[in-house]
Symmetry: C2
Subunit: 192 residues, 2 copies
């Protein structure tokens, strides 16, 4: 395995890092391949060697988003303590944190899916991501003792999606707080 010979990591990493930043800010369709190349300081041939189609780069971007966001969700839940009941509410702190972050621009998956043809690979990857997250929430709800874990999980992920999606407009952290309070109410009602 050769050591990286470029200052800021391997070419592939630089491409991905730049694509992540640009795609999230302007949407994949709003960023040309030439821009990614220019800003990552990479040759065109190099980019097309690692990502033969632009779609491949978009999918790699979504994978990175998935890791980041899902990781933040689990970390927030973990930080809420050992009680699954508290973790179900605590995961919304990830939303609070996301809204506060500079350059926050909503849900990368929804934004990307909105500009991608239905039935394409981007949609499939997005559905996959949402499914994995919901399965995790469902398991938490089951551990918490919910009578209908699937329902509660759907309710909570719906809240998450709502909070994320409306972030396209204004990263108002109050929205995340509202979502958190809603989550508390729904969890309490489901576990009463």
């Amino acid at each position: 395995m050769p050591a990286p010979r470029t200052p800021a990591g391997s070419a592939r990493d630089r491409i991905l890092h730049t694509a992540f930043r640009l795609f999230y800010a302007h949407g994949p369709r709003g960023v040309g391949v030439d821009t990614v190349i220019a800003e990552s300081g990479v040759a065109k041939a190099t980019l097309y060697k690692h990502f033969p189609r632009k779609d491949d780069l978009v999918l790699a971007y979504l994978d990175r988003v998935d890791q980041t966001w899902f990781g933040a969700l689990r970390a927030a839940a973990r930080d809420a303590g050992d009680e699954p009941r508290d973790q179900l509410v605590g995961m919304f702190d990830a939303l609070v944190g996301a809204c506060r972050r500079d350059g926050y621009h909503g849900c990368a998956f929804i934004n990307t899916a909105a500009e991608s043809p239905a039935g394409g690979p981007v949609h499939a990857r997005t559905v996959e991501h949402k499914t994995v997250v919901r399965a995790w929430v469902t398991e938490l709800a089951r551990q918490a003792g919910a009578a209908e874990p699937e329902l509660l999980a759907r309710q909570l992920t719906l809240l998450l999606d709502g909070g994320l999606a409306s972030g396209v407009l204004d990263g108002d952290p109050v929205i995340a707080e509202v979502a958190r309070r809603s989550a508390r109410t729904l969890v309490d009602a489901a576990l009463r």
Copy 2:
């Protein structure tokens, strides 16, 4: 006022109708002006006479979406009876209906905002739309006797946004039902 001389309404109406259909299906950025022209059977000069910039057409599209969606929300609320408390939940029937509709593709505002530059007219129009809807819901919540009408309105519109936004992926009507049940729980909790 001259009578329409074209079979399917005035040229302006045909343009708007076609743009509505195409913009909603593929996103404004995914539809070229030439396509709108071809499918609406209109001359290029005519389109640019009515809508000097493509952005003008996009904004007119959003206005039409606003009328349609807000109208559907109010109609659903009205159909739920005279009690504001029931209307707050009943408005979610508009979401149920939207999810069932063929070609459902999520929230036109969020989808469009996601691909538009932040701070631009599209964002402003979207914020305006969301503000008007939320003000209406707030008034309903006040009439229903909520202690914190603004909070309840934010919670409910957050649910609406979540249900709409996730519709980009799958128009699963179950999501709308889940949103409706969440709304019932939140309304009950707020009015207890």
